[in-house]
C-alpha cells in the first residue's frame, strides 16, 4: 500500500453532472479557490478511500480541450503540466456521442483515463442500452456507471481510480484514434522530427504534440517555438504538413481532425449503443414547450424573477432586521464592557458598525444564491438566457448577463458575484463593470430624501427617472466598452439547453454556501479595513469641542423622557444627550473627513455641491445609506423639527440647495462607486486590482460628468 497521495482530476462537459459527483466524493471537505491568474473557480478536496489518500481536483466543465476558452486553457494546462495520476471523464450517458468527443481528446493526451457514464438512469429511461464492457475495450478505458443524483456507483468509481493509479486495471491500455492514411503520414513525419530531441518525448506524448501542431494550436506552437532550433524544425515540418493536407482536403486540417474524431465515435457507438424506440415521450421537451413558449415564455420568466426578488428582499428583510438588531445589541454590549476611549470607538463605531452594515446582507445573499442555484441546477438558467439573449445582445452582452443586471437593482455585491454564471471572461468583466449603474436598494433612501424634499408631489417620477438614467448609462457604457476595451467579435453564443432536472437539496445547499462563504470571507476583509479607515477619518483629530455651542443647544426645548436604552448606553461620550448633534456636527467638520470635504469641495462646486454634500458623498464610499446619515449630522443639527427626517428636510431647503443641484446630486449618487462591499466583490470576481481601479475611476468620472451636465446644462436653460 502506497502512502502517497493520488491526484485525480475530474473532467467532463458542462451539464454532465460533474459537480454533483464531485460533491458526493468530497462532501464538505472541499476547498474553493481560483485557478492561478484567472477567475475560473477551482475546487478540490482531500479524501481517504480504503487507506489511500486522494486529492480530487474538479476541472472546469468543457466541451473540448482546444484552448479557445479560458476554461479549456485552465483544464488543459492542469492535465499537461501537472500530470494528475488519474483523470475521470464524467460523461452524460444519455448524450453519449457529443460527450465522448472530450474523451477522444483525453485519450489522445495519453492520460490514465476512467470513463464514468453518469446519469445512467436517464439513459436507461430513454431506452439507451450501453455495452460498457465493449465500450471500454474499444477505447482502452475502464468504464463505470454512476448516478450522481442518487449517489450510486461512486464507491466503484473510487475503487477503479485506485486500481488504475496502481496500474492494476486490465482494461486500461493506450489506443490511437486512427485518422486515416494521409493524416497519419503527416503525424508520423512530425513525430520523427520531435524524436530528434528525446527529452521532449519523455515529457509529452509526441503523437499529441503532432496532432495539436496539425490543428494549428496556439499554445502548443508557442511552447514548441520556445525550444529553439529543434522547435523551429518541428514547426516547419508541421506547417508543411498542414499546407499539404489543406490542399488535399480543401478544408482546414483542424476541421478534418474533428470530423475524424466524430467518425471514430460514431463507429464505436454503432457497436455499443442500442436505442430502443420505446418511450418517445420526452417530459423535458414538453415542459420547455410551455416555459419558452412564444406567448407564455416572457410572462413566466418575469414571474420567476419577481418571485426571486420577493424571496430575496421581502422574506430576507426579516432575518436582516434580526441581524441588524443583533449588531446593534453587540455594539451596545461592547460599548459597556470596554473602557471609554479611542479603542472602544474603533471597535464600536468602526469595526462593529462597519462590518455589521455588510453582515446584515447575508440573509439576502443566501436566499439569492439559493434561487440562482435552483435556476442553474434545474436547467432554467439556460432558458432564461435563451429568452433574453435578443435583448441583451443589443448592449453587446450575453443572455446570461440578464440575471446579474436585474439583481443589481437589489444589491450590486451579490449581483456581481452572480456574473459567475457567464462562461466568457469578456462578457463577465463587461457585466461586472456596468452592473453598478443598476441602482441598488441602498441608494433609494438618498433619492427618497432628496426627491421628497425638493420635488414634492412629482418625487415618484423623479426617482423613476433616476433609475431610467442608470439603465441608459449602462447601455451607453456597455456599447462604449464593447467598442473600445472589448473590441473584436464576441464569443459564439452556442448554448446547450440541458434537459430539465430535479436538483438535489444537497447540491443546492453546497452551491449556495460556497458563494455566500466567499462573500463573508473576502468582503469581510475589505470592509473591515475600509470601515476602519473611514471611521478614523471621521473621528480624528479628537480635539475637545469648544463649549461655546452649549447654550445654543440648551435653548432647545427637550422632551425630558429619555428612553431606557439611551440611559443604559450613556457614557462619557454619549451621542444621545441634547447638545450632542451640534457637538457632533462641529467634530465632524473639524475631522479629517470634514477637512477633506473642504479641500475637495472645489472639485464638486461645478456640480452645485457645498462642502457638507461633498463630505456626504465621500462617506458614501462605504455605503450609500451613509450619505443620508452624514447629511443628517452635517445639516440637521440645531434645526427645529419633530422628527429627525423633517428636520433634515427643512435644513436642506434652508441650505440653499436648489432642486437642480439636488437632482445632480441624485445622479451623482446613482453613478459613482456603490459601496465598499461592491468594490470588494469587483476585486474578488475580476481577480484584478486593475479592473477594480478602473471601475472606481470610470464611475467617478462618469458621475462627475453626468452631474456636471445636469447642473450646468440645467442652469443654461434657466432651470435654476
Amino acid at each position: 500500500m502506497t502512502k502517497e497521495t493520488i491526484t485525480v482530476a475530474l473532467a467532463g462537459n458542462p451539464n454532465s453532472g460533474k459537480t454533483t459527483i464531485f460533491n458526493h466524493i468530497t462532501g464538505t471537505r472541499q476547498h474553493v479557490g481560483n485557478w492561478p491568474g484567472v477567475t475560473v473557480e477551482k475546487k478540490e478536496g482531500l479524501i481517504q478511500h480504503n487507506g489511500h489518500r486522494l486529492r480530487v481536483v474538479d476541472l472546469p466543465g468543457t466541451y473540448s480541450l482546444t484552448a479557445y476558452s479560458l476554461e479549456e486553457i485552465v483544464a488543459r494546462r492542469f492535465l499537461v503540466e501537472e500530470k494528475p495520476d488519474v483523470v475521470v471523464d464524467i460523461v452524460d450517458a444519455s448524450n453519449l456521442e457529443r460527450n465522448l468527443y472530450l474523451a477522444t481528446q483525453l485519450i489522445e493526451l495519453g492520460v490514465k483515463l476512467i470513463l464514468a457514464l453518469n446519469m445512467a438512469d436517464v439513459a436507461e429511461a430513454r431506452g439507451h442500452e450501453i455495452d460498457s464492457g465493449k465500450l471500454g475495450t474499444l477505447l482502452g478505458v475502464p468504464v463505470v456507471f454512476t448516478v450522481g443524483t442518487k449517489n450510486q456507483g461512486i464507491k466503484e468509481l473510487l475503487d477503479k481510480v485506485v486500481a488504475v493509479a496502481e496500474d492494476r486495471d486490465t482494461v486500461s491500455r493506450h489506443i490511437h484514434i486512427a485518422y486515416g492514411h494521409e493524416l497519419e503520414k503527416e503525424i508520423k513525419k512530425i513525430q520523427d522530427v520531435i524524436w530528434q530531441d528525446p527529452s521532449i518525448g519523455r515529457r509529452y506524448s509526441t503523437r499529441w504534440l503532432a496532432v495539436k501542431l496539425l490543428e494549428n494550436d496556439g499554445a502548443v506552437k508557442e511552447g514548441v517555438g520556445a525550444l529553439g532550433g529543434i522547435g523551429s524544425r518541428i514547426l516547419a515540418q508541421a506547417d508543411a504538413g498542414r499546407a499539404r493536407l489543406t490542399q488535399l482536403y480543401q478544408d482546414d486540417t483542424e476541421m478534418v481532425l474533428t470530423d475524424q474524431r466524430y467518425g471514430f465515435i460514431g463507429g464505436a457507438l454503432k457497436e455499443v449503443l442500442r436505442v430502443s424506440a420505446a418511450s418517445k415521450f420526452d417530459l423535458s421537451r414538453q415542459i420547455d414547450l410551455v416555459l419558452t413558449n412564444r406567448l407564455l415564455g416572457f410572462p413566466i420568466f418575469i414571474f420567476f424573477i419577481w418571485a426571486m426578488f420577493q424571496l430575496t428582499f421581502t422574506l430576507g428583510a426579516y432575518p436582516m432586521a434580526w441581524l441588524d438588531a443583533g449588531v446593534g445589541w453587540l455594539g451596545g454590549v461592547v460599548a459597556k464592557v470596554l473602557p471609554a476611549g479611542v479603542f472602544r470607538d474603533l471597535v464600536v463605531d468602526g469595526v462593529i458598525a462597519g462590518v455589521g452594515s455588510v453582515i446584515i446582507f447575508l440573509p439576502n445573499i443566501l436566499l439569492l444564491f439559493f434561487c440562482i442555484a435552483l435556476f442553474e441546477d434545474t436547467g432554467y438558467l439556460a432558458r432564461a438566457a435563451f429568452i433574453m439573449d435578443r435583448v441583451m445582445h443589443l448592449i453587446g452582452l450575453h443572455g446570461k448577463s440578464f440575471i446579474p443586471m436585474l439583481m443589481g437593482f437589489g444589491c450590486n455585491a451579490p449581483a456581481i458575484m452572480a456574473a459567475r454564471t457567464l462562461e466568457s471572461e469578456r462578457d463577465r468583466i463587461l457585466t461586472i463593470l456596468i452592473n453598478p449603474l443598476m441602482s441598488c436598494s441602498a441608494r433609494l433612501p438618498v433619492y427618497v430624501l432628496l426627491a421628497g424634499t425638493f420635488f414634492g408631489a412629482s418625487a415618484g417620477n423623479v426617482i423613476f427617472s433616476i433609475y431610467a438614467l442608470g439603465i441608459a448609462l449602462a447601455i451607453a457604457m456597455g456599447k462604449l466598452f464593447r467598442l473600445t476595451l472589448f473590441r473584436g467579435e464576441s464569443a459564439p453564443f452556442v448554448l446547450e439547453l440541458p434537459p430539465y432536472r430535479v436538483p438535489t437539496l444537497k447540491s443546492l445547499l453546497i452551491h449556495m454556501w460556497d458563494r455566500s462563504a466567499i462573500f463573508l470571507r473576502k468582503m469581510g476583509g475589505v470592509i473591515l479595513v475600509g470601515s476602519m479607515v473611514v471611521w478614523f477619518l471621521g473621528a480624528f483629530p479628537r480635539q475637545p469641542v469648544a463649549p461655546v455651542v452649549e447654550p445654543v443647544a440648551r435653548s432647545q426645548t427637550a422632551p425630558v423622557t429619555p428612553d431606557p436604552a439611551e440611559l443604559s448606553s450613556a457614557g462619557p461620550r454619549s451621542r444621545h444627550d441634547k447638545e450632542a448633534p451640534e457637538r457632533e456636527r462641529l467634530r465632524l467638520e473639524r475631522s479629517y473627513l470634514g477637512r477633506l470635504g473642504r479641500v475637495i469641495q472645489p472639485i464638486f462646486a461645478p456640480l452645485g455641491f457645498d462642502w457638507q454634500t461633498s463630505v456626504a458623498v465621500l462617506s458614501g464610499f462605504v455605503a450609500k445609506e451613509i450619505v443620508v446619515s452624514t447629511l443628517g449630522v452635517l445639516y440637521a443639527a440645531g434645526s427645529e423639527g419633530n422628527d429627525e427626517n423633517e428636520a433634515l428636510r427643512g435644513a436642506l431647503r434652508a441650505s440653499g440647495m436648489t432642486p437642480l443641484a439636488a437632482y445632480a446630486l441624485m445622479a451623482f449618487v446613482l453613478t459613482y462607486v456603490p459601496c465598499l462591499a461592491t468594490v470588494g466583490a469587483i476585486r474578488r470576481e475580476t481577480n484584478s486590482w486593475k479592473w477594480t481601479a478602473f471601475s472606481i475611476a470610470y464611475t467617478l468620472t462618469l458621475a462627475w460628468v453626468v452631474a456636471f451636465v445636469i447642473f450646468q446644462g440645467g442652469r443654461l436653460i434657466g432651470l435654476a
Binding site: 482546444t66 479557445y68 429568452i387 453564443f493
Partner: protein
Amino acid sequence: MIPLSRFKEGERGVIIKIQGRGAFRKRLQEMGFIRGTEVFVEKYAPLRDPVELIVKGYHVSLRVEEAAQVLMERQGQEAA
C-alpha cells in the same frame, strides 16, 4: 444549399458546410455540427432569436446570425 437560419420550426435538414471564422466553426464542430449530421429546428425564442436545435440527440441554441453560417440541405418535414 440553404442557410439554417431560413429553416422554420419543425423542419429538419443535413449539414453540408459551415462558414465563418475558425474559432466559431471549430466550436460548432466540437459541439457536433459535422458535415452530414441531421439538425432539427425545435423552436425560435419568443423574440425570434436565438433558435433552438436538436443535434445528435441534445438541445442547443444558436443566434440566428450564427445559424446563417450553417449551410443545409432540406429533408422531409415532420411534426416533432
